[in-house]
Each structure stands twice: as C-alpha cells, then as structure tokens.
Symmetry: C2
Subunit: 226 residues, 2 copies
C-alpha cells in the first residue's frame, strides 16, 4: 500500500489509472489542473465525477495564470483544434510547452507536503509521437529529477508508459472503470466532436476492443489515415 | 548570444546571475514568482527593480494558489522563520517542497513558448545543505528532463552551481551588480532582520569579501556556528 498523488485529467487514461491504483489497495489522492485549455471546464467536471465515483479526495489546482502566455492551439489563446489523427503534423500544434513537466513537478511538491511517496501519471505510448514529455526517455530522467529534488521522498510512476489506449481500455473494462464519466475531446463544446486527434484515437481504441464507447459523440466516423 | 529565461528572485545570487548573463551579451528575459512566501512582496519588488536597472523584460508568475497547501515555514501558512545558520536543522523547516523543481519546469514552458533556448537559475553550493533541488545531482537530472521534455529545445544552466555566496559577490562586484537593490531576508518585514539563515549567509559572504553590504539590517552581528 502506497500513498499516491494521481494526476486525474478526466480522460480515459487517467480514469483507468485511478481504477488500477485503487484496485491495488493504495491510498490515492487525485489532483486536476486548470491551465487554460479549451476543454478544461469539461475535463475538470469529468475528473471531479470520477473522484466522486471512486470516493477519493480531489483537488483542482490553477495554473491558468502561469500558462496564460504559453503557445498552443489547445489553449483558449491559440487557434482552432485541428481534426485528424494524433500523429499528424497538424496535431503537434496542440502540444502545450512543458505541460507534463510542470504538472509532474507540482504534483511532486504536493506529494512531499502530504507525505505521499509516489506521483502517478497516465502517460502512454499513444502520446509519444507528438508529446516529448510523455516519452520513456523523459519519464526516466524526470523520475530521477524527482527522486533527487525531493531527497528520495517522492518517485514518479507511469504504469501505462508502454501501453496504448487499446490495452488501457482492456484493463479498465476488467476492473469496471466508468468510461461514461470521462472526457477526451479537445474541443470547447460539451459533446465530444469525434474528429479531433484525441477523439479519433479513443474511437479506434474502443473499436479495437469490440466495445461501444459510452460517451456521446457528434460523429463516430473513424477517419482514414493519410 | 543565447536567448535566456532567467529566474530572478530579487536576491543577491539571481541579481549577479542577471549581471553575468548580460555581461556575456545574451538576450535575457527575467521571470519572478509569487508563491506565498513571507518575503515575497519584498523580493518581488527587488526583482522588479533589478529588471528595471538592467532594462530587461520582467514577468511575475503567480503560483500562490498552486502552492497554498505546501508545508514550509517560509510560507505565510507556516510557522516562524527560524534564526541561525543555513546548515542547521531548524533551517530545513524553510525548505519549500519542490520549489525549484516547479520553478524550473514552468520556466522551461515559458522558454519554449518564447523560443528561448536556455533557462538560467542561480543555485549555488551554499544551498546544497538543505535544498535537495539545488544540488548538482538534481541539476544534472533536471537538465536531462528539460532537454528530453522539450525535444532538445531548452537546456538548464546553473553557472553558480559550484560557486558560493563569497565568490558570487566577488564576481558581482567586478561587473557592478547593484546589490543595494536586492532582497535576501526571509522574514515578513521591509528591513532585513540579519538573523535568519539567509541574512547570516549573506552577511558572512560580504564580510569575506571585505565589503560592507549596502542593504539596511536590523542587526549585522554574525552569529557563532554551533
């Protein structure tokens, strides 16, 4: 049993991560972030609902002032959310500079303050293409930085580092993760668009599992890869 | 010539760092942080004055909400600032969990967004005793995490990593750093107390240089080391 600070975005990956952490009998506190993204209000509502479902403490931390001048189409200050697949060049415009680097650092401070020993994040192989701060090479160096920066009080865990969304959903179904409560779409609208890279990746992963995605979509058409 | 995002706390180390960065002909933007420390209003005033003196862009980022629940006597939410020398057990109560880890991560995001390629921080050997996230082992792993987390866009530089306050002041005097504008004291009062670990270390370093510290103090007595 470990005391864990878990990064809960409200998406399907972190929802599954929370389910896994609890199924292993850990003591988990969830933290979400407001940082100025277009889908922030919807994903924060989802993370709050997930924390409620699992009866874990939940805290929402506000980085929107700090990240207000950051350049990314994911943010309200940026351009339109592109449609298509994650790996495409256009999707790299949705990368938020240093987002995970910053989130993980803050979570390490929270963990130290709360005497938790582990920070858990839901990064996975589907993120590797466009997000440098989700890749294994980053993970290993960041874990080292956390250990050294906290005098070995806090370590970084990324149980899905070598998983993909398809295998994550498979794990989640086995332990009853409530995917109907999650939010994945990047767009600033209550109903998932189905067309952004984030929606497309999720639709593909549910299809690969032979399961209907329980959230509502404007469109469920999986676009051809160019 | 590099484009640099420099962490400017308003203390004598980061003031010297700014002087050094500019003396080398770099393009420097300074960033300060509000994070709920007792001396924050005074050090932010100092960092603003220093940026004005050197005519560099200055931005103040607010992490006080994010760090509100962090445990440290340096923060308004914590206990009294202890008096004595830095290396003493009591001073470790002023450590803010993950402070540099968080500051550096945010600065990396700022750097990426502004197309700067280096983050500069004024950590030095005097910090090593109580601050794990100022030690060389942390620095090297954090530099690696930044490089990997930003796809090699941003590196971390700590030119004073193996210096101490005495050698920093020596460098600063050679290039005319305006130490009268700096703020080092940890206490919540406009005039430096002279008794906290931060003041004591500074008084010792000026004395070792045979120079009068130009800022005002309540007391300039250097306490014996126990």
């Amino acid at each position: 049993m470990s005391r864990i600070i878990l990064s809960l975005s409200g998406g399907m990956d972190s929802a599954t991560l929370l389910g896994v952490a609890l199924s292993e009998g850990n003591d988990v506190s969830a933290v979400g972030f407001t940082y100025g993204s277009k889908h922030n209000p919807y994903e924060n509502k989802a993370s709050q609902a997930l924390a409620g479902f699992y009866h874990v403490p939940y805290e929402l931390l506000d980085l929107s002032g700090v990240m207000a001048a950051f350049k990314s189409d994911l943010l309200r200050t940026g351009g339109e959310i592109p449609e298509g697949h994650y790996e495409e060049e256009s999707m790299s415009r949705t990368v938020v500079p240093g987002r995970n680097l910053i989130f993980i650092s803050v979570l390490a401070g929270v963990a130290w303050s709360k005497e938790a020993t582990e920070v858990w994040v839901g990064i996975h192989s589907g993120d590797h293409a466009i997000y440098p701060d989700c890749r294994p090479a980053f993970y290993y160096s960041m874990d080292t930085a956390l250990r050294r920066g906290t005098d070995e009080r806090v370590v970084l865990k990324a149980p899905f580092l070598h998983e993909n969304k398809t295998s994550i959903i498979k794990m989640g179904h086995a332990i009853g993760v409530p995917y109907q409560l999650t939010r994945t779409c990047y767009k600033d609208q209550p109903i998932a668009c189905g067309k952004c890279g984030s929606c497309q990746e999720r639709l593909e992963a549910f299809k690969a599992n032979g399961v209907e995605d329980p959230v509502e979509y404007e469109s469920r058409v999986i676009l051809p890869r160019t």
